[in-house]
Symmetry: C2
Subunit: 234 residues, 2 copies
């Protein structure tokens, strides 16, 4: 390991540094408002040298987005142990950690716009959504998700995104409450869906099977599942 | 009123026609895949004449988007009469009518992309979301929405968007079921939120006050609201 602070960096190392510097700047201001000059200055190199490592602003932004997407995706990984509600709550805590650290960058990215609204950026965001979807389906223990299950999970992912964006804008509700509320939202949406679809009801029963009496899901979903026929409208 | 079919159109009339032609083409294929040549041909005029009315493709697309946004916003308007659940269901039916008619155009727009992902397009989409939000808040009879209410309504709007996009992609669940499910989703999310916030609970009670015993909300929300203290985690 080299320890000299001023040594010459290799190409990959320099690219990594520029990405890290860009992400740090994007965590305080929207990518649209951050120039290559600022990134160069914060990295302690010249503007032309930045263009040596990245052909343009868009490429550096996309590399930063790819790094952030990988980091967020890694946060979705949760051991398949213990009650499902507690697992989902831990993932929500890590998701909000990410959202809090990346603030303006996350917000600009999810809302699109000139600096961040490219087709490749959209594809990377969809990749993160897909990873979230697959993680949840795996935790639910469903090898072949039904259309109804897919709908519940994917629409809940968008609900979590919107909740996080509103939290960044307003900060009017503590994030710890929103993390818990999102877990309960998932349970409520799954239970509503179960009223329409017997296979979805099986999934909800499986979700509940491992829940302790004081778990995140148990009481809420249990009561919803005991709703009588009239609410289970076809 | 002029009735001649081949008469010369005025500027506004021609612009209206081009917008209508573009929206019709976008209802079958993504805007990215529709050229100005095709729009000119479908309108029965030359390509240069299209550019006489719209300086570029982007301007015509944005004019078409503005028209579609106005049309969708108009569909949110619902008389303040009768049970809230039934009102919301009628709005959902009109929303899915719109989504079904505009199919690929709606899908491309909501997912962003080079042809439709401009800042102005994003602002128009946000305008439609804001109109949906304001309509719902007005129906709930809340003059000063709390942060929690704002969160529930805005995140439910994103849930409805995601549900509609998945329906367009898959068509695996009948839209009539999804329209009803979305109304129940709203009730479930409001009820979950009420467990965290006494003012939100008041809103839910108001929602329920006008509901008939067999209404969309009554049973589902009523049972959720009767959940005992342990679920109402702070």
């Amino acid at each position: 390991m080299t320890t000299g602070a001023r040594r010459r960096m290799g190409v990959e190392e320099r690219r990594d540094q520029l990405i890290a510097v860009a992400l740090d700047l994007f965590s305080h201001r929207s990518p649209e408002d951050v120039s290559i000059d600022e990134i160069a200055e914060a990295a302690g190199i010249s503007r032309p040298l930045v263009y040596h490592y990245f052909p343009g602003k868009q490429q550096l932004y996309e590399a930063a987005l790819r790094r952030a997407a990988e980091e967020l995706t890694a946060r979705f990984v949760e051991p398949h142990e213990g009650p499902l509600g507690a697992r989902l709550l831990r993932v929500m805590e890590r998701f909000f950690d990410f959202v809090e650290v990346h603030g303006p960058g996350f917000s600009a990215l999810m809302r699109g716009g000139p600096a961040v609204g490219s087709t490749r950026a959209s594809a990377m965001i969809d990749g993160v959504r897909q990873a979230a979807y697959e993680q949840i389906v795996a935790h639910l223990g469903v090898p072949d998700p039904t259309p109804r299950l897919e709908l519940v999970v994917r629409s809940w992912v968008s609900l979590a995104e919107t909740t996080a964006l509103l939290w960044l804008d307003r900060r009017s509700i503590p994030r710890t409450e929103l993390e818990r509320q999102l877990v309960h939202d998932f349970a409520a949406l799954a239970a509503v869906s179960a009223a329409y679809d017997e296979r979805m009801a099986q999934v909800v029963r499986h979700m509940l099977a491992d829940e302790p009496a004081d778990g995140m899901f148990a009481d809420l979903v249990g009561r919803l599942m005991s709703l009588p026929a009239p609410v289970r409208c076809a």
